[in-house]
Amino acid sequence: MTGGDRQVFNNRTINKNAAPLNGDRARIQGEDTRKVKAPDFAYERPESLDQVFDLLERHGDEARILAGGQSLLATLNMRLSSPGLLVDIGRVPGLAGVARAGQTIRIGAMTRHCDLAAAPPVQAHLPLLARAVPHIAHPAIRNRGTIGGSVALADPAAELPACCLAMGATMVLASRGGERRVAAADFFQGLFRTVLEPHELLAAIEVPVPPAGSVAGFDELARRHGDYAIVGLAAQGVPAGAGWQGLALAFFGADDRPVLATAAAAVLAEGGGIAAAQAALDRDLDPPGDLNGDPATKRHLARVLLGRVVGAMAEGR
């Protein structure tokens, strides 16, 4: 699942005109309208990118971008974070939607998971995303959660960051000064950490149209449908004889960020076979233990997934 796992509604302190961060409680009339549980925050819903940048520049670290809200609101309600200002980008034009331009498919950051899977360019050219989306949590969350939110949050167990890595995507980071582009491989910096600067907004994700003959593979092992994966694999490549061209194996739930298994991919590219690739995987992955398994269990399950996903890709499944 993505970073978003809980559908949370919260009606506190919604006041577009409140001066943010002044500590003054923006009250809605009536005793019980200030429900539990989030700490106080101010809320703005800008209607242009310029207004977004104004707010980000003015509030720096205190501001958090609110996209689909499927992770952020849960952390607020558990009082795990307490930003001074939420900047809701839901009304900023041009941030949602999927379009092809030449050999690039541009996915707006505010594209919701449900729309992503159904978008014609995704259906036609990005089977990896189409396969991954049904694994993200549950329909109610897919209806709200966005690709930009998931990627910017950088939850190491989420599906879409790994897909971006496997597809060789480029992150488009917008700021007052224009856009800069960062490869997915450089974007993710660690547990919930990316190269995004406080004044920047993840505006879009650009994915190259895979070459002819490319096949995609995706699977994850989760205790219950919709749970965070114990370990998962997003893969893409072109079969070439016994080997592969451009094979990318992106594991998630296996480290503090999505990881490209380059050693295993190199073995497969040379036609070295799955067993050898599974053996090579130990050089790629150094998974920390978590509630679902210790490092040895995660390594084992990653090897099993590698065999299943690449095996299915080789058979054209």
């Binding site: 796992d5 429900k35 549980k37 009082r79 219950r224 509630l291 679902n292 398994g293 084992h300």
Partner: protein, 794 residues
């Protein structure tokens, strides 16, 4: 079940609603969102409380600086443990019939020491919950972290921290039982099997969390407590005792309850604190546990390590069983039911379905710095069933006897009752043989075994697991009353006939979402002889219902239902006396059916009930002199013949194990059980199914995970895995009916059978699938990692 004076049995009543899946009267209201839960209530001047909870498993409270919190916006009061102790006295969770059981005084707010991570140590009352939480964040608690006793296996080590030094050690309770010639039986056995079983700590996870709204009206000197709870009269009694109030001053109201499962039948410090705060502040105070608080302060359950062994003769006859149970209960024995009951039940229930006469057991209950543990659905049963059925399967495998066959050879025969198990529990009438036969037929056992063999040849590992069980229901005073707990085992039902022919039934058993009110309406309508739509049921109000125990230990239908039946018969008789006078007929020649007075022999209508009501209430002058209609009747019931009405049943699971990933797929599940008279088949079947799902949760998913320092690691719904619909199998349910003769309706309980047997069925099925691979799991939940380790893959 017996024939009444008309010669009709309970089931034969004309227009009977018994045995029919009639819709629940409250279903429409609940589905329309019109349920009234505690958090829906808003009272004038209502305040909200939030608690500062200890972040440490064990800590000395040096002091709490409350100044900043007191000055925070909206705050009415900040109250520490010492201040609250002046209003509410402490309690000790012990019972007289558990000899040696000890515990320490527990306060609504910890005073000097916090004993688990999550224990409330200070309360903030404010105009809103959010303001109360903001102010809690401003409390500066000076806490000195103390060494914690965490692992139950180490609790009794000489160098382990003793949580309550006054008690001397961490041993709360120990029970020893030695019946027959155990050593000789093991010595002479053809086969002895041995295993250690781990059952993880888990909890109830109610949709509606614990919630309480206390309203002290200083003018009337009346405390009204709206409570999401199972036992309103018990709560009333305890509030009186610890707050120093007379009974007439306390009313406890439990309207709609969003699930309880035994979680909401215990005394919780934060709830007592909320009531005390209402007294202190003379205003309504509400507390609703959030999900994190629920995980860290609702009672947990299970957490047992049982070493077991079983002796068999060469023909598979069980000769003897021996167990050694160790369980960790947190830092206090929970009041008033105590935390010794689960271990006690394990001792009572191991080997329960079988004929052997030699049995030795030891159970030790130890303190630890974790969330307190107490009774949750199917108390002790799933542990006892896992141990017993796991050992039986081991014996069957060693002796190469089919798992169905070995059970067939060992269960107490259906014609051998009344009987007594080796542990001393007494059975009035069980039906193991019939249930097993029905199960084998339902699941087409031979065909399933053939399918299993064919799939194994293709590398697909499926397994069949069986679990035979007995279930404790309809408890008498033997459960708690004899130990000194003021917990009612009797229940009453008051019926009132209204002029238009409607009947109001007020009853002491309560509705938790399981359908108690439907059962009561069915029984009353049948017994009185009115349409069910004419019956309105009132539950959960100490000012409005007869005194009773509420809902626990599967007692609602069997005990509440019998009280309702007796009251209904009495009301009908009273009505017929009046009808006889009006119609100048012998009352014995009349009956009440479908809301009409009829001729009993022919069914011909003599008079509508509404006409009788009109005369009795508005024209009593026309009745014969000396005839006083008594249209309010009350009857009570408590089982006395047996301490408990044991039920029995058998479950089977059909699962597929992926040996590469350790993942288990649940394919099918079956249960045949015998709860006596089935009052409402749909409600009973859904109790069974829901119970099975909770049992599957224990077997595969649910666990309260702690690190070695005593910190709870997975207190969110993302990390604590409750069973979800997508992973659940289809569950087929069937019944054998052996009514109890202790009551006329003959109903026994059905609330816990599913949870009792499901974990053992699933684990046995996993082990059946793993057997060709030489692996075996013995700990729950059987996560993929547990299975991979058993397989030696990691």
């Amino acid at each position: 079940m017996s024939a009444d004076e008309t010669g009709l049995t309970f089931l034969d009543r004309p227009n009977s609603y018994i045995g029919r899946s009639v819709p629940r009267p409250n279903a429409r209201r609940l589905l329309q969102g019109r349920g009234i839960y505690v958090d829906d209530l808003k009272l004038p001047r209502m305040a909200h409380v939030a608690f500062l909870r200890s972040p440490y498993p064990h800590a000395r409270i040096r002091g709490i600086d409350t100044a900043a919190a007191k000055a925070a916006p909206g705050v009415f009061a900040v109250v520490t443990g010492a201040e609250m102790a002046r209003v509410c006295t402490p309690w000790v969770g012990v019972l007289g019939h558990f000899k040696g059981l000890k515990s320490a005084p527990q306060y609504p707010l910890a005073i000097d020491r916090a004993c688990w991570a999550g224990e409330a140590i200070c309360a903030v009352v404010a105009a809103s919950r959010a303001e109360a939480e903001d102010a809690v964040a401003l409390l500066a608690a000076d806490l000195e972290e103390l060494p914690a006793a965490v692992e139950m296996e180490r609790a009794l080590d000489p160098d382990e921290t003793v949580i309550h030094p006054d008690l001397g050690d961490n041993l709360a309770f120990e029970r020893l039982l030695d019946v027959g010639e155990v050593d000789a039986a093991f010595r002479d056995a053809a086969v002895v099997v041995e295993e250690t079983f781990q059952v993880g700590r888990h909890t109830g996870v109610c949709l509606e969390p614990r919630a309480i709204l206390a309203d002290w009206d200083a003018g009337e000197e009346k405390l009204t407590v709206h409570h999401s709870f199972q036992a309103p009269h018990m709560m009333q009694d305890i509030l009186c005792k610890h707050l120093g109030l007379p009974e007439a001053s306390v009313r406890v109201v439990c309207k709609d309850v969003g699930g309880s499962f035994g979680i909401k039948v215990h005394i919780y410090p934060d709830e007592m604190a909320t009531v005390a705060l209402s007294l202190m502040l003379k205003r309504p105070v509400k507390f609703v546990a959030d999900r994190l608080e629920s995980f860290t302060s609702d009672i947990h359950a299970r957490d047992h390590r049982v070493k077991g062994r079983m002796a068999f003769a060469a023909d598979g006859t069980i000769l003897a069983a021996e167990i050694d149970d160790l369980t960790g209960i947190g830092p206090y024995s929970v009041y008033p039911r105590t935390s010794a009951v689960e271990a006690n039940q394990v001792v009572n229930l191991v080997g329960g379905p079988y004929r052997h006469r030699n049995y030795r057991a030891r159970a030790r209950v130890v303190f630890q710095n974790k969330t307190p543990m107490c009774q949750y659905r199917a108390v002790g049963h799933p542990i006892a069933v896992m141990v017993t059925e796991g050992l039986v399967d081991l014996g069957a495998a060693r002796l190469d006897i089919d798992p169905v066959e070995i059970r067939r050879r060992n269960v107490i025969p259906d014609d051998a009752h009344p009987s007594t198990a080796a542990s001393g529990i007494r059975f009035e009438q069980l039906s193991h043989q019939a249930a097993l036969a029905r199960l084998v037929e339902m699941m087409d056992y031979p065909a399933l075994r053939a399918e299993q063999a064919a799939l194994r040849a293709r590398g697909i590992h499926r397994g069949i697991g069986l679990a035979t069980f007995v279930e404790i229901t309809n408890p008498s005073a033997a459960f708690y009353g004899v130990g000194g707990a003021r917990i009612s085992s009797q229940d009453g039902c008051t019926l009132r006939l209204n002029p238009q022919g409607g009947v109001v039934a007020a009853i002491g058993v309560t509705e938790q979402g399981q359908g108690t009110e439907a059962i009561v309406a069915q029984v009353v309508a049948t017994a009185v002889g009115v349409p069910m739509e004419q019956v309105r049921v009132v539950t959960g109000d100490t000012d409005a219902t007869p005194y009773g125990g509420g809902t626990w230990a599967s007692r609602g239908a069997g005990i509440g239902g019998e009280a309702a039946w007796q009251a209904g018969k009495a009301l009908r008789q009273n009505v017929l006396v009046v009808a006889g006078a009006i119609l100048q007929a012998d009352p014995a020649s009349l009956d009440l059916r479908g809301g009409r007075v009829v001729d009993a022999a022919t069914g011909t209508e003599r008079m509508p009930l509404a006409e009788l009501g009109r005369i009795a209430y508005f024209r009593p002058d026309t009745l014969p002199p000396g005839l006083q209609p008594e249209f309010v009747v009350t009857r009570h019931y408590v089982p006395k013949d047996y301490p408990f009405a044991f039920t029995n049943g058998v479950q089977a699971a059909w699962v597929e194990v992926d040996p590469d990933t350790g993942f288990v797929r649940l394919l099918r599940h079956w249960c045949v059980e015998d709860c006596g008279t089935v009052l409402n088949p749909q409600l009973v079947d859904e109790q069974i199914r829901g119970g099975i799902v909770q049992g599957i949760g224990a077997a595969l998913f649910e666990e309260c995970r702690y690190d070695r320092t005593g910190q709870f690691l997975n207190a969110t719904m993302a990390d604590y895995l409750v069973p979800m619909a997508a992973e659940m199998p289809d569950i087929a349910v069937a019944h054998v009916v052996s009514p109890t003769l202790s009551s006329e309706i003959g109903a026994k309980g059905a609330g816990e059978a599913g949870t009792a047997g499901a974990p053992a069925a699933v684990i046995n099925a996993i082990n059946d699938a793993l057997r060709p691979l030489g692996a075996r799991v013995t700990s729950q939940p059987a996560s993929p990692e547990v299975i991979l380790r058993a397989l030696g893959r990691v």
